[in-house]
Symmetry: C2
Subunit: 281 residues, 2 copies
DNA sequence: TGAATAGTGTCTGTGAGACAATATTAT
DNA sequence: ATAATATTGTCTCACAGACACTATTCA
Protein backbone atom coordinates (compact mmCIF):
# COMPACT_ATOMS: atom_id res chain seq x y z
CA UNK A 1 0.00 0.00 0.00
CA UNK A 2 3.02 2.29 -0.11
CA UNK A 3 2.47 3.27 -3.69
CA UNK A 4 1.87 6.97 -4.24
CA UNK A 5 -1.08 7.99 -6.33
CA UNK A 6 -1.32 11.34 -8.01
CA UNK A 7 -5.04 11.52 -8.63
CA UNK A 8 -8.18 9.94 -7.36
CA UNK A 9 -8.92 8.29 -10.70
CA UNK A 10 -5.54 6.65 -10.75
CA UNK A 11 -6.09 5.39 -7.24
CA UNK A 12 -9.49 3.97 -7.98
CA UNK A 13 -8.24 2.05 -10.98
CA UNK A 14 -5.93 0.15 -8.70
CA UNK A 15 -8.54 -0.49 -6.07
CA UNK A 16 -9.96 -3.98 -5.74
CA UNK A 17 -13.03 -4.30 -3.56
CA UNK A 18 -12.64 -8.06 -3.53
CA UNK A 19 -9.69 -7.63 -1.22
CA UNK A 20 -12.00 -6.73 1.62
CA UNK A 21 -14.48 -8.68 3.68
CA UNK A 22 -17.93 -8.66 2.21
CA UNK A 23 -20.98 -9.27 4.30
CA UNK A 24 -24.62 -9.74 3.58
CA UNK A 25 -26.88 -6.96 4.62
CA UNK A 26 -30.58 -7.37 5.10
CA UNK A 27 -33.39 -5.25 6.38
CA UNK A 28 -36.25 -6.19 8.68
CA UNK A 29 -39.37 -4.16 9.04
CA UNK A 30 -41.63 -3.85 11.99
CA UNK A 31 -44.91 -2.90 10.37
CA UNK A 32 -47.24 -1.44 12.97
CA UNK A 33 -50.88 -0.57 12.94
CA UNK A 34 -53.95 -0.43 15.11
CA UNK A 35 -56.73 -2.97 14.74
CA UNK A 36 -60.30 -2.67 15.88
CA UNK A 37 -62.36 -5.45 17.29
CA UNK A 38 -66.09 -5.47 16.80
CA UNK A 39 -67.94 -4.92 20.03
CA UNK A 40 -70.98 -6.91 21.09
CA UNK A 41 -72.67 -3.82 22.51
CA UNK A 42 -73.70 -1.35 19.81
CA UNK A 43 -73.16 1.55 22.20
CA UNK A 44 -69.57 0.77 23.07
CA UNK A 45 -66.57 1.88 21.08
CA UNK A 46 -64.78 -0.90 19.29
CA UNK A 47 -61.81 -2.07 21.26
CA UNK A 48 -58.43 -1.23 19.75
CA UNK A 49 -55.28 -3.30 19.60
CA UNK A 50 -51.78 -2.44 18.63
CA UNK A 51 -50.79 -4.88 15.94
CA UNK A 52 -47.78 -5.90 13.89
CA UNK A 53 -47.36 -7.88 10.72
CA UNK A 54 -45.48 -11.17 10.86
CA UNK A 55 -44.61 -13.66 8.18
CA UNK A 56 -44.41 -17.40 8.57
CA UNK A 57 -41.13 -18.83 7.42
CA UNK A 58 -41.49 -21.62 4.92
CA UNK A 59 -37.86 -22.62 4.69
CA UNK A 60 -34.97 -23.34 6.92
CA UNK A 61 -33.57 -21.84 8.98
CA UNK A 62 -36.34 -21.28 11.53
CA UNK A 63 -38.82 -23.13 9.35
CA UNK A 64 -42.42 -22.65 10.55
CA UNK A 65 -41.50 -19.83 12.90
CA UNK A 66 -42.74 -16.30 12.53
CA UNK A 67 -40.53 -13.42 11.59
CA UNK A 68 -40.62 -9.83 10.45
CA UNK A 69 -40.91 -9.14 6.74
CA UNK A 70 -37.48 -8.44 5.36
CA UNK A 71 -34.97 -9.16 2.68
CA UNK A 72 -31.59 -8.52 1.22
CA UNK A 73 -30.39 -5.09 0.26
CA UNK A 74 -29.44 -4.94 -3.38
CA UNK A 75 -25.90 -4.01 -4.27
CA UNK A 76 -27.15 -0.96 -6.10
CA UNK A 77 -30.08 -0.19 -3.89
CA UNK A 78 -30.22 2.80 -1.59
CA UNK A 79 -30.49 1.54 1.99
CA UNK A 80 -33.90 3.14 2.61
CA UNK A 81 -35.24 1.74 -0.64
CA UNK A 82 -35.09 -1.83 0.55
CA UNK A 83 -37.64 -1.49 3.35
CA UNK A 84 -39.84 0.58 1.05
CA UNK A 85 -39.73 -2.12 -1.58
CA UNK A 86 -40.58 -4.85 0.90
CA UNK A 87 -43.33 -2.75 2.41
CA UNK A 88 -44.87 -2.33 -1.00
CA UNK A 89 -44.66 -6.07 -1.58
CA UNK A 90 -46.36 -6.88 1.69
CA UNK A 91 -48.97 -4.20 1.91
CA UNK A 92 -49.20 -2.72 -1.54
CA UNK A 93 -48.75 0.67 0.07
CA UNK A 94 -46.36 3.46 -0.82
CA UNK A 95 -45.57 6.64 1.03
CA UNK A 96 -45.52 5.04 4.40
CA UNK A 97 -43.92 6.47 7.50
CA UNK A 98 -40.62 4.69 7.89
CA UNK A 99 -37.93 5.19 10.45
CA UNK A 100 -34.67 3.41 10.98
CA UNK A 101 -34.52 1.58 14.26
CA UNK A 102 -31.26 -0.15 14.85
CA UNK A 103 -28.65 -2.26 13.13
CA UNK A 104 -28.09 -5.73 14.49
CA UNK A 105 -24.80 -7.44 13.88
CA UNK A 106 -24.43 -10.46 16.08
CA UNK A 107 -22.09 -12.98 14.52
CA UNK A 108 -24.51 -15.86 14.82
CA UNK A 109 -27.78 -14.14 14.07
CA UNK A 110 -28.28 -16.32 11.06
CA UNK A 111 -26.94 -19.87 10.87
CA UNK A 112 -26.54 -19.63 7.10
CA UNK A 113 -23.89 -16.97 7.07
CA UNK A 114 -22.84 -13.68 8.51
CA UNK A 115 -25.70 -11.27 8.09
CA UNK A 116 -26.06 -7.79 9.42
CA UNK A 117 -29.53 -6.37 9.49
CA UNK A 118 -30.80 -2.84 9.65
CA UNK A 119 -34.28 -2.73 11.09
CA UNK A 120 -36.99 -0.22 10.38
CA UNK A 121 -40.31 0.60 11.89
CA UNK A 122 -43.23 1.45 9.65
CA UNK A 123 -46.55 2.91 10.72
CA UNK A 124 -49.59 2.29 8.61
CA UNK A 125 -53.25 3.17 8.74
CA UNK A 126 -55.10 -0.11 8.50
CA UNK A 127 -57.97 1.51 6.65
CA UNK A 128 -55.69 2.03 3.70
CA UNK A 129 -55.00 -1.68 3.43
CA UNK A 130 -56.86 -4.01 1.23
CA UNK A 131 -57.92 -7.08 3.06
CA UNK A 132 -55.82 -9.63 1.28
CA UNK A 133 -52.35 -10.14 2.63
CA UNK A 134 -49.65 -12.28 1.15
CA UNK A 135 -50.51 -15.91 1.92
CA UNK A 136 -48.03 -16.44 4.73
CA UNK A 137 -48.45 -13.06 6.41
CA UNK A 138 -50.67 -12.27 9.36
CA UNK A 139 -51.48 -9.40 11.71
CA UNK A 140 -50.88 -10.09 15.38
CA UNK A 141 -52.38 -8.06 18.17
CA UNK A 142 -49.70 -7.17 20.67
CA UNK A 143 -50.06 -7.02 24.41
CA UNK A 144 -47.10 -5.85 26.39
CA UNK A 145 -46.68 -6.07 30.14
CA UNK A 146 -43.61 -4.23 31.22
CA UNK A 147 -41.77 -3.50 34.40
CA UNK A 148 -38.31 -2.30 35.31
CA UNK A 149 -36.67 -5.56 34.37
CA UNK A 150 -38.71 -7.42 31.82
CA UNK A 151 -41.06 -7.02 28.90
CA UNK A 152 -43.65 -9.74 28.48
CA UNK A 153 -45.09 -9.86 25.00
CA UNK A 154 -48.16 -11.71 23.90
CA UNK A 155 -49.03 -11.77 20.22
CA UNK A 156 -52.29 -13.09 18.93
CA UNK A 157 -53.60 -13.40 15.38
CA UNK A 158 -56.86 -15.10 16.25
CA UNK A 159 -55.55 -18.57 15.62
CA UNK A 160 -52.23 -18.69 17.33
CA UNK A 161 -50.79 -17.13 20.45
CA UNK A 162 -47.12 -16.35 20.73
CA UNK A 163 -45.37 -15.10 23.79
CA UNK A 164 -41.82 -14.12 24.53
CA UNK A 165 -39.95 -12.30 27.22
CA UNK A 166 -37.26 -9.66 26.90
CA UNK A 167 -34.93 -8.77 29.73
CA UNK A 168 -33.86 -5.20 30.25
CA UNK A 169 -30.61 -4.26 31.88
CA UNK A 170 -29.72 -0.66 32.36
CA UNK A 171 -26.48 0.43 30.79
CA UNK A 172 -23.93 2.31 32.81
CA UNK A 173 -24.37 6.00 33.29
CA UNK A 174 -27.45 6.35 31.29
CA UNK A 175 -31.05 6.45 32.32
CA UNK A 176 -32.73 5.44 29.19
CA UNK A 177 -30.60 2.94 27.39
CA UNK A 178 -31.40 -0.61 28.15
CA UNK A 179 -29.63 -3.58 26.80
CA UNK A 180 -32.27 -6.03 25.69
CA UNK A 181 -31.84 -9.77 25.85
CA UNK A 182 -34.19 -12.53 24.87
CA UNK A 183 -35.13 -14.47 27.97
CA UNK A 184 -37.81 -16.70 26.50
CA UNK A 185 -38.88 -17.26 22.93
CA UNK A 186 -39.69 -20.23 20.81
CA UNK A 187 -41.89 -19.11 17.99
CA UNK A 188 -40.14 -16.06 16.61
CA UNK A 189 -37.20 -16.44 14.26
CA UNK A 190 -33.77 -14.81 14.41
CA UNK A 191 -33.31 -11.99 16.90
CA UNK A 192 -36.58 -10.46 15.84
CA UNK A 193 -37.99 -10.34 19.36
CA UNK A 194 -35.35 -7.71 19.98
CA UNK A 195 -36.53 -5.69 17.03
CA UNK A 196 -40.10 -5.84 18.22
CA UNK A 197 -39.07 -4.72 21.69
CA UNK A 198 -36.93 -1.90 20.34
CA UNK A 199 -39.66 -0.73 18.03
CA UNK A 200 -42.33 -0.64 20.68
CA UNK A 201 -40.07 1.19 23.08
CA UNK A 202 -39.22 3.73 20.46
CA UNK A 203 -42.83 4.22 19.57
CA UNK A 204 -43.93 4.56 23.18
CA UNK A 205 -41.30 7.17 23.65
CA UNK A 206 -41.92 9.16 20.54
CA UNK A 207 -45.65 9.25 20.83
CA UNK A 208 -45.19 11.73 23.63
CA UNK A 209 -43.20 14.35 21.80
CA UNK A 210 -43.93 13.86 18.11
CA UNK A 211 -46.90 13.56 15.81
CA UNK A 212 -46.17 10.08 14.52
CA UNK A 213 -49.47 8.63 15.70
CA UNK A 214 -51.24 10.39 12.89
CA UNK A 215 -49.50 8.06 10.49
CA UNK A 216 -51.73 5.34 11.85
CA UNK A 217 -54.91 7.39 11.67
CA UNK A 218 -57.35 7.86 8.80
CA UNK A 219 -57.91 11.39 7.59
CA UNK A 220 -60.94 12.00 9.79
CA UNK A 221 -61.21 10.63 13.27
CA UNK A 222 -62.86 11.36 16.57
CA UNK A 223 -60.82 12.37 19.58
CA UNK A 224 -62.04 9.25 21.31
CA UNK A 225 -60.51 7.09 18.62
CA UNK A 226 -57.29 9.07 18.70
CA UNK A 227 -57.15 8.68 22.44
CA UNK A 228 -57.64 4.94 22.10
CA UNK A 229 -54.67 4.75 19.80
CA UNK A 230 -52.51 6.64 22.27
CA UNK A 231 -53.72 4.31 24.96
CA UNK A 232 -52.90 1.08 23.19
CA UNK A 233 -49.45 2.35 22.34
CA UNK A 234 -48.72 3.60 25.81
CA UNK A 235 -50.42 0.64 27.42
CA UNK A 236 -52.39 2.74 29.88
CA UNK A 237 -55.54 4.78 30.21
CA UNK A 238 -55.34 8.52 29.79
CA UNK A 239 -57.52 11.14 31.37
CA UNK A 240 -59.75 12.89 28.88
CA UNK A 241 -59.05 16.52 29.75
CA UNK A 242 -55.30 16.01 29.86
CA UNK A 243 -55.35 14.20 26.58
CA UNK A 244 -57.37 16.90 24.89
CA UNK A 245 -55.04 19.57 26.13
CA UNK A 246 -52.03 17.75 24.76
CA UNK A 247 -53.37 17.19 21.29
CA UNK A 248 -55.37 20.41 21.10
CA UNK A 249 -52.99 22.16 18.72
CA UNK A 250 -52.21 19.11 16.66
CA UNK A 251 -55.73 18.64 15.37
CA UNK A 252 -58.46 20.78 13.92
CA UNK A 253 -62.15 20.30 14.33
CA UNK A 254 -64.17 19.80 11.16
CA UNK A 255 -67.85 20.34 10.65
CA UNK A 256 -68.52 16.65 10.26
CA UNK A 257 -69.81 14.57 13.09
CA UNK A 258 -69.94 10.87 13.71
CA UNK A 259 -73.28 9.81 15.04
CA UNK A 260 -75.25 6.59 15.25
CA UNK A 261 -73.71 5.05 18.33
CA UNK A 262 -76.26 5.29 21.10
CA UNK A 263 -74.52 8.24 22.67
CA UNK A 264 -73.58 11.81 22.05
CA UNK A 265 -72.08 12.12 18.58
CA UNK A 266 -68.57 13.42 18.32
CA UNK A 267 -66.99 15.84 15.94
CA UNK A 268 -64.53 14.51 13.45
CA UNK A 269 -61.07 15.97 13.63
CA UNK A 270 -58.20 16.13 11.23
CA UNK A 271 -54.45 16.32 11.70
CA UNK A 272 -53.22 19.87 11.57
CA UNK A 273 -49.70 20.38 10.30
CA UNK A 274 -47.65 22.52 12.60
CA UNK A 275 -46.82 26.00 11.47
CA UNK A 276 -47.06 29.16 13.49
CA UNK A 277 -49.92 27.86 15.60
CA UNK A 278 -48.98 29.29 18.95
CA UNK A 279 -46.13 27.30 20.40
CA UNK A 280 -44.20 25.71 17.67
CA UNK A 281 -41.81 23.65 19.73
CA UNK B 1 -35.76 -23.30 -4.55
CA UNK B 2 -38.58 -25.80 -4.72
CA UNK B 3 -36.60 -28.58 -3.12
CA UNK B 4 -37.98 -29.84 0.16
CA UNK B 5 -35.59 -30.13 3.05
CA UNK B 6 -36.27 -32.30 6.05
CA UNK B 7 -33.89 -30.76 8.54
CA UNK B 8 -32.06 -27.53 9.07
CA UNK B 9 -28.66 -29.19 8.69
CA UNK B 10 -29.61 -30.63 5.37
CA UNK B 11 -30.79 -27.24 4.24
CA UNK B 12 -27.64 -25.47 5.33
CA UNK B 13 -25.44 -27.92 3.48
CA UNK B 14 -27.10 -26.83 0.28
CA UNK B 15 -26.92 -23.14 1.02
CA UNK B 16 -24.40 -21.03 -0.84
CA UNK B 17 -23.86 -17.54 0.52
CA UNK B 18 -22.03 -16.57 -2.64
CA UNK B 19 -25.32 -16.56 -4.45
CA UNK B 20 -26.31 -13.36 -2.69
CA UNK B 21 -25.13 -9.80 -2.96
CA UNK B 22 -22.32 -9.02 -0.61
CA UNK B 23 -21.56 -5.53 0.54
CA UNK B 24 -18.83 -3.93 2.53
CA UNK B 25 -19.76 -2.72 5.93
CA UNK B 26 -17.78 -0.17 7.86
CA UNK B 27 -18.18 1.73 11.06
CA UNK B 28 -17.49 5.39 11.79
CA UNK B 29 -17.12 6.75 15.26
CA UNK B 30 -17.86 10.22 16.47
CA UNK B 31 -15.57 10.46 19.47
CA UNK B 32 -16.69 13.31 21.70
CA UNK B 33 -15.13 15.03 24.63
CA UNK B 34 -14.83 18.35 26.36
CA UNK B 35 -11.63 20.38 26.17
CA UNK B 36 -10.51 23.11 28.48
CA UNK B 37 -8.68 26.19 27.41
CA UNK B 38 -6.26 27.86 29.79
CA UNK B 39 -7.52 31.23 30.93
CA UNK B 40 -5.34 34.34 31.11
CA UNK B 41 -7.02 35.44 34.33
CA UNK B 42 -6.21 33.14 37.24
CA UNK B 43 -9.59 33.87 38.78
CA UNK B 44 -11.70 32.77 35.89
CA UNK B 45 -12.73 29.24 35.17
CA UNK B 46 -11.09 27.72 32.16
CA UNK B 47 -13.31 27.97 29.15
CA UNK B 48 -14.74 24.69 27.89
CA UNK B 49 -15.27 23.46 24.36
CA UNK B 50 -17.10 20.52 23.00
CA UNK B 51 -14.64 18.62 20.85
CA UNK B 52 -14.48 15.70 18.47
CA UNK B 53 -11.66 13.63 17.09
CA UNK B 54 -10.96 13.71 13.38
CA UNK B 55 -8.41 11.92 11.26
CA UNK B 56 -6.69 13.28 8.21
CA UNK B 57 -7.01 11.01 5.20
CA UNK B 58 -3.72 10.13 3.62
CA UNK B 59 -5.04 8.26 0.63
CA UNK B 60 -7.62 8.62 -2.03
CA UNK B 61 -10.52 8.99 -2.01
CA UNK B 62 -10.84 12.30 -0.17
CA UNK B 63 -7.09 12.57 0.23
CA UNK B 64 -6.13 15.33 2.67
CA UNK B 65 -9.63 15.78 3.95
CA UNK B 66 -10.67 15.09 7.50
CA UNK B 67 -12.94 12.24 8.46
CA UNK B 68 -14.17 10.29 11.45
CA UNK B 69 -12.08 7.38 12.67
CA UNK B 70 -13.52 4.19 11.28
CA UNK B 71 -12.86 0.97 9.52
CA UNK B 72 -14.18 -2.25 8.12
CA UNK B 73 -16.14 -4.72 10.14
CA UNK B 74 -14.50 -8.10 10.15
CA UNK B 75 -16.42 -11.03 8.81
CA UNK B 76 -16.28 -12.71 12.19
CA UNK B 77 -16.45 -9.61 14.29
CA UNK B 78 -19.47 -8.68 16.37
CA UNK B 79 -20.84 -5.36 15.09
CA UNK B 80 -20.21 -3.50 18.34
CA UNK B 81 -16.69 -4.84 18.54
CA UNK B 82 -15.51 -2.89 15.54
CA UNK B 83 -16.01 0.58 17.01
CA UNK B 84 -14.53 -0.62 20.27
CA UNK B 85 -11.49 -1.89 18.45
CA UNK B 86 -11.02 1.35 16.55
CA UNK B 87 -11.59 3.39 19.68
CA UNK B 88 -8.86 1.45 21.41
CA UNK B 89 -6.53 2.06 18.48
CA UNK B 90 -7.16 5.77 18.47
CA UNK B 91 -7.33 6.56 22.14
CA UNK B 92 -5.91 3.55 23.89
CA UNK B 93 -9.03 3.51 26.01
CA UNK B 94 -11.35 0.66 26.80
CA UNK B 95 -14.70 0.67 28.53
CA UNK B 96 -15.94 3.73 26.80
CA UNK B 97 -19.53 4.81 26.49
CA UNK B 98 -20.63 3.83 23.02
CA UNK B 99 -23.98 4.16 21.38
CA UNK B 100 -25.11 3.32 17.92
CA UNK B 101 -26.24 6.34 15.97
CA UNK B 102 -27.43 5.51 12.52
CA UNK B 103 -26.65 3.38 9.51
CA UNK B 104 -25.89 5.20 6.30
CA UNK B 105 -26.36 3.44 3.04
CA UNK B 106 -26.28 5.89 0.17
CA UNK B 107 -25.21 4.16 -3.02
CA UNK B 108 -22.44 6.60 -3.80
CA UNK B 109 -21.14 7.31 -0.34
CA UNK B 110 -17.78 5.94 -1.29
CA UNK B 111 -16.42 6.15 -4.83
CA UNK B 112 -14.48 2.94 -4.39
CA UNK B 113 -17.40 0.63 -3.97
CA UNK B 114 -20.70 0.14 -2.29
CA UNK B 115 -20.18 0.65 1.40
CA UNK B 116 -22.72 0.82 4.14
CA UNK B 117 -21.63 2.34 7.37
CA UNK B 118 -22.98 2.08 10.87
CA UNK B 119 -22.01 5.09 12.92
CA UNK B 120 -21.45 5.25 16.64
CA UNK B 121 -21.00 8.01 19.13
CA UNK B 122 -18.45 7.63 21.90
CA UNK B 123 -18.10 9.84 24.93
CA UNK B 124 -14.74 10.07 26.63
CA UNK B 125 -13.30 11.93 29.57
CA UNK B 126 -10.29 13.77 28.22
CA UNK B 127 -8.46 13.42 31.48
CA UNK B 128 -8.16 9.72 30.88
CA UNK B 129 -6.33 10.28 27.63
CA UNK B 130 -2.64 10.30 27.27
CA UNK B 131 -1.45 13.28 25.31
CA UNK B 132 -0.13 11.53 22.26
CA UNK B 133 -2.60 10.81 19.55
CA UNK B 134 -2.00 8.84 16.41
CA UNK B 135 0.01 11.03 14.02
CA UNK B 136 -2.82 12.01 11.71
CA UNK B 137 -5.50 12.49 14.36
CA UNK B 138 -6.53 15.75 15.94
CA UNK B 139 -9.12 17.14 18.35
CA UNK B 140 -11.35 19.86 16.95
CA UNK B 141 -13.37 22.22 19.07
CA UNK B 142 -16.89 22.40 17.76
CA UNK B 143 -19.09 25.45 17.61
CA UNK B 144 -22.62 24.99 16.41
CA UNK B 145 -25.05 27.72 15.49
CA UNK B 146 -28.46 26.27 14.86
CA UNK B 147 -31.85 27.50 13.87
CA UNK B 148 -35.01 25.90 12.52
CA UNK B 149 -33.53 25.29 9.14
CA UNK B 150 -29.78 25.02 9.29
CA UNK B 151 -26.89 23.93 11.43
CA UNK B 152 -23.68 25.89 11.00
CA UNK B 153 -20.66 24.04 12.26
CA UNK B 154 -17.25 25.46 12.88
CA UNK B 155 -14.46 23.11 13.86
CA UNK B 156 -11.10 24.31 15.04
CA UNK B 157 -8.03 22.38 16.08
CA UNK B 158 -5.77 25.36 16.70
CA UNK B 159 -4.21 25.24 13.27
CA UNK B 160 -7.04 24.77 10.90
CA UNK B 161 -10.64 25.90 10.79
CA UNK B 162 -13.30 23.86 9.07
CA UNK B 163 -16.85 24.87 8.55
CA UNK B 164 -19.82 23.20 7.02
CA UNK B 165 -23.55 23.68 6.88
CA UNK B 166 -26.30 21.12 7.31
CA UNK B 167 -29.84 21.73 6.16
CA UNK B 168 -32.74 20.42 8.20
CA UNK B 169 -36.08 19.60 6.69
CA UNK B 170 -38.86 18.34 8.84
CA UNK B 171 -40.28 14.99 7.87
CA UNK B 172 -43.98 14.57 7.44
CA UNK B 173 -46.10 14.02 10.50
CA UNK B 174 -43.33 14.11 12.96
CA UNK B 175 -42.04 16.83 15.15
CA UNK B 176 -38.60 15.73 15.88
CA UNK B 177 -37.26 13.92 12.89
CA UNK B 178 -35.33 16.05 10.52
CA UNK B 179 -33.84 14.91 7.31
CA UNK B 180 -30.33 16.29 7.18
CA UNK B 181 -28.60 17.33 3.99
CA UNK B 182 -25.15 18.74 3.46
CA UNK B 183 -25.47 22.27 2.11
CA UNK B 184 -21.86 23.28 2.25
CA UNK B 185 -18.73 21.30 2.97
CA UNK B 186 -15.33 21.04 1.46
CA UNK B 187 -12.97 19.72 4.07
CA UNK B 188 -14.78 16.73 5.52
CA UNK B 189 -14.74 13.40 3.71
CA UNK B 190 -17.65 11.12 2.83
CA UNK B 191 -21.01 11.92 4.39
CA UNK B 192 -19.38 12.43 7.74
CA UNK B 193 -20.85 15.90 8.23
CA UNK B 194 -24.16 14.11 8.55
CA UNK B 195 -22.79 11.84 11.23
CA UNK B 196 -21.46 14.80 13.18
CA UNK B 197 -24.81 16.55 12.93
CA UNK B 198 -26.74 13.46 13.95
CA UNK B 199 -24.40 12.82 16.86
CA UNK B 200 -24.63 16.32 18.24
CA UNK B 201 -28.39 16.37 17.93
CA UNK B 202 -28.64 13.09 19.73
CA UNK B 203 -26.35 14.25 22.46
CA UNK B 204 -28.17 17.56 22.93
CA UNK B 205 -31.37 15.65 23.23
CA UNK B 206 -30.21 12.98 25.58
CA UNK B 207 -28.38 15.25 27.92
CA UNK B 208 -31.74 16.39 29.19
CA UNK B 209 -33.15 13.07 30.21
CA UNK B 210 -30.20 10.76 30.78
CA UNK B 211 -26.96 10.71 32.70
CA UNK B 212 -24.63 10.37 29.73
CA UNK B 213 -22.73 13.56 30.50
CA UNK B 214 -20.98 11.82 33.32
CA UNK B 215 -19.17 9.71 30.80
CA UNK B 216 -17.25 12.83 29.89
CA UNK B 217 -16.52 13.82 33.47
CA UNK B 218 -13.66 12.81 35.74
CA UNK B 219 -14.55 11.08 38.98
CA UNK B 220 -14.56 14.26 41.03
CA UNK B 221 -15.79 17.55 39.68
CA UNK B 222 -17.31 20.80 40.80
CA UNK B 223 -20.84 21.70 39.92
CA UNK B 224 -19.50 24.68 38.04
CA UNK B 225 -17.51 22.40 35.79
CA UNK B 226 -20.44 20.10 35.29
CA UNK B 227 -22.62 23.04 34.41
CA UNK B 228 -20.06 24.20 31.86
CA UNK B 229 -20.20 20.82 30.19
CA UNK B 230 -23.97 20.95 29.97
CA UNK B 231 -23.65 24.44 28.58
CA UNK B 232 -21.24 23.59 25.79
CA UNK B 233 -23.34 20.64 24.76
CA UNK B 234 -26.59 22.55 24.80
CA UNK B 235 -24.99 25.65 23.36
CA UNK B 236 -26.56 27.99 25.87
CA UNK B 237 -26.13 29.36 29.35
CA UNK B 238 -28.07 27.78 32.18
CA UNK B 239 -29.27 29.42 35.35
CA UNK B 240 -27.47 28.19 38.44
CA UNK B 241 -30.43 27.36 40.67
CA UNK B 242 -32.31 25.55 37.95
CA UNK B 243 -29.24 23.57 37.01
CA UNK B 244 -28.57 22.56 40.57
CA UNK B 245 -32.12 21.42 41.01
CA UNK B 246 -31.94 19.24 37.96
CA UNK B 247 -28.73 17.45 38.80
CA UNK B 248 -29.30 17.41 42.55
CA UNK B 249 -30.14 13.74 42.74
CA UNK B 250 -27.62 12.63 40.18
CA UNK B 251 -24.57 13.72 42.16
CA UNK B 252 -23.35 13.41 45.71
CA UNK B 253 -21.27 15.91 47.57
CA UNK B 254 -17.93 14.69 48.87
CA UNK B 255 -15.85 16.17 51.64
CA UNK B 256 -13.19 17.36 49.24
CA UNK B 257 -13.05 20.92 48.07
CA UNK B 258 -11.30 22.59 45.20
CA UNK B 259 -9.66 25.81 46.27
CA UNK B 260 -6.91 28.02 44.94
CA UNK B 261 -8.79 30.05 42.41
CA UNK B 262 -9.23 33.55 43.80
CA UNK B 263 -12.79 32.89 44.79
CA UNK B 264 -14.90 30.81 47.07
CA UNK B 265 -13.80 27.18 46.84
CA UNK B 266 -16.31 24.64 45.70
CA UNK B 267 -17.08 21.21 46.92
CA UNK B 268 -16.20 18.31 44.71
CA UNK B 269 -19.07 16.10 43.67
CA UNK B 270 -19.28 12.62 42.32
CA UNK B 271 -21.76 10.86 40.08
CA UNK B 272 -24.35 9.01 42.08
CA UNK B 273 -25.81 5.94 40.48
CA UNK B 274 -29.58 5.98 40.55
CA UNK B 275 -31.30 3.61 42.89
CA UNK B 276 -34.18 4.39 45.13
CA UNK B 277 -33.27 8.06 45.52
CA UNK B 278 -36.68 9.65 45.50
CA UNK B 279 -38.03 9.60 42.00
CA UNK B 280 -36.47 6.88 40.05
CA UNK B 281 -37.69 7.80 36.62
C1' DT C 1 -10.71 45.41 48.98
C1' DG C 2 -12.52 43.59 44.78
C1' DA C 3 -13.15 40.31 41.17
C1' DA C 4 -14.77 36.09 40.60
C1' DT C 5 -17.18 31.91 41.51
C1' DA C 6 -20.18 29.05 44.97
C1' DG C 7 -24.37 28.35 46.77
C1' DT C 8 -29.34 29.39 48.52
C1' DG C 9 -34.06 31.54 48.83
C1' DT C 10 -38.20 32.58 46.79
C1' DC C 11 -41.73 34.42 43.57
C1' DT C 12 -44.31 33.44 39.49
C1' DG C 13 -46.34 31.23 35.65
C1' DT C 14 -47.18 27.01 33.13
C1' DG C 15 -48.74 22.70 32.68
C1' DA C 16 -50.00 17.90 34.10
C1' DG C 17 -52.99 15.04 37.13
C1' DA C 18 -57.31 14.48 39.15
C1' DC C 19 -62.08 14.85 39.67
C1' DA C 20 -66.54 16.79 38.80
C1' DA C 21 -70.09 18.34 35.97
C1' DT C 22 -72.77 18.90 31.83
C1' DA C 23 -74.30 17.52 26.96
C1' DT C 24 -76.21 14.42 23.62
C1' DT C 25 -77.60 10.53 21.37
C1' DA C 26 -80.18 5.58 20.00
C1' DT C 27 -82.70 2.25 21.82
C1' DA D 1 -85.26 6.63 31.04
C1' DT D 2 -80.66 4.73 30.48
C1' DA D 3 -76.19 3.44 29.07
C1' DA D 4 -72.62 5.14 26.88
C1' DT D 5 -69.51 8.49 25.08
C1' DA D 6 -68.35 13.69 24.25
C1' DT D 7 -66.79 17.81 26.05
C1' DT D 8 -65.59 21.40 29.32
C1' DG D 9 -64.43 23.56 33.95
C1' DT D 10 -61.45 23.98 37.60
C1' DC D 11 -58.51 22.88 41.66
C1' DT D 12 -54.08 21.51 43.14
C1' DC D 13 -49.35 20.40 43.02
C1' DA D 14 -44.82 20.08 40.97
C1' DC D 15 -41.52 22.30 38.71
C1' DA D 16 -38.85 25.40 35.45
C1' DG D 17 -37.53 30.27 34.67
C1' DA D 18 -36.05 34.35 36.67
C1' DC D 19 -33.92 37.26 39.81
C1' DA D 20 -31.97 38.53 44.16
C1' DC D 21 -29.16 37.66 47.78
C1' DT D 22 -25.32 35.76 50.72
C1' DA D 23 -20.68 33.34 51.20
C1' DT D 24 -15.84 32.73 50.47
C1' DT D 25 -11.49 32.98 48.58
C1' DC D 26 -6.74 35.10 47.14
C1' DA D 27 -3.80 38.42 44.75
Amino acid sequence: MAKEYKTEEEFLKDYHPEDYDRLSLTTDILICSVSSEEEENYRKLSKKYFSILLVKREDYPFKDKWCLPGGFIGIKEELEEAPKRILAQETNLHNIYLEQLYTYGGVDRDPRMRVISTSYIALVDKNRLQDQLLPNASWFNVTLLEDEKEMHFTLDNGEETISFVIGKTLKEQTTDRYKYTILKNDKIAFDHPLVIAAGLSRLKNKVGYTDIVFNMMPEYFTLGELQQVYEVILGKKLLDPAFRRIIANKVEKTTKVQSGGGHRPSYLFRYKKRKENGKND
